[in-house]
Assembly symmetry: C5
């Protein structure tokens, strides 16, 4: 999983049928200092994440298992919201 | 999933048998400001995407599930067309 | 999938048993202008691709499904030969 | 798998249900000289890894198989702790 | 698959149970001119590869299928040893 920050929403009417009703958020990957890197991804959200929150997300096929219909072809999902990062050592 | 823009079509006669009849588009990844990054990918399209449209796509094995024969060895597919990106915060 | 150009062959005698008889090619990723980027990959070929041809290939686990024994642990395969790229728009 | 160093913990209360009770660590990828590269990942730990330890981890869907409930949508896990790296040759 | 050169061994006592008895090697990715790029990976070896050899390896979930217990959560394995690379064309 990777750390990310929710930066917006994706509004999409025409899409594959099994994506109906799924909330899609735009997530900016961030490092352990919460600095952005790379390009944003589009992830499904099932835990009521909001814009501005620090979250961790997956981008593998397992992401689809967070949905009610687990065979949904989804490859990115928010897994949890970060309360705190306890960084103890940075080589 | 990632954001991308459809930039062209891939015409291919000789291919694996299960790809017969599948529409293949060339997609340029773009960031939240619609600026291109990285190199284009070849994705299957099942939602009648057109050149110039902003879409979101997958590049994992789940992509194959958008096809009628879901065991098709496909690893990239367009999932939906973006109506609007509501960017609220960019760290 | 990605665009690539076949640049050579990989000759390998000692290998995992299920790879016996599988033709392995060296493929250089190329962009929409056929310019190389990144590093070459080793892909299985089942459609009689030849050196110098423009092809599209997969690098996910689905690649193994192009082989007769679909449970073969293969992660890269040539899917088709490109006749033509119709680039209409490049952002 | 990749080499990494455990640099911290991720505290998360709101998360997908199947992640309850799973210990999440922040891992910095390192090379063969233990120098950091890239950005840290969030990995599940089932072998009592501690901060500062050199470990190897996976970031594929197989990672979930280290958990009691193997269908858990996990894509990153610590697989083992490195006692020693015997580097014999670096091209 | 990718080309790589075996540069060392990984000694690991504490690890997930299903990794007992599996030989782990450190592999440096190399390009078609055998020049190194990127960072080394940790791969399982089942074909008696040795340090200094040019090999090709996988880093997808299919890698686990080279092991006796194919459900082993392994994501990187050496697939074969390269006898010869016949590079005919480099764009």
């Amino acid at each position: 999983m990777k750390l990310g920050k929710v930066i917006g929403r994706v509004v999409s009417t025409r899409k594959i049928e099994s994506f109906e009703g799924i909330k899609l958020l735009l997530v900016q990957p961030v490092d352990e200092n919460l600095l952005p890197y790379g390009d944003p991804i589009v992830a499904a959200d099932t835990i009521q994440s909001g814009v501005g929150q620090l979250i961790y997300y997956e981008t593998s096929k397992e992401a689809g298992r967070v949905l009610p219909y687990t065979m949904n072809p989804l490859d990115a999902a928010i897994m949890g919201i970060v309360d705190n990062l306890n960084i103890e050592e940075k080589q």
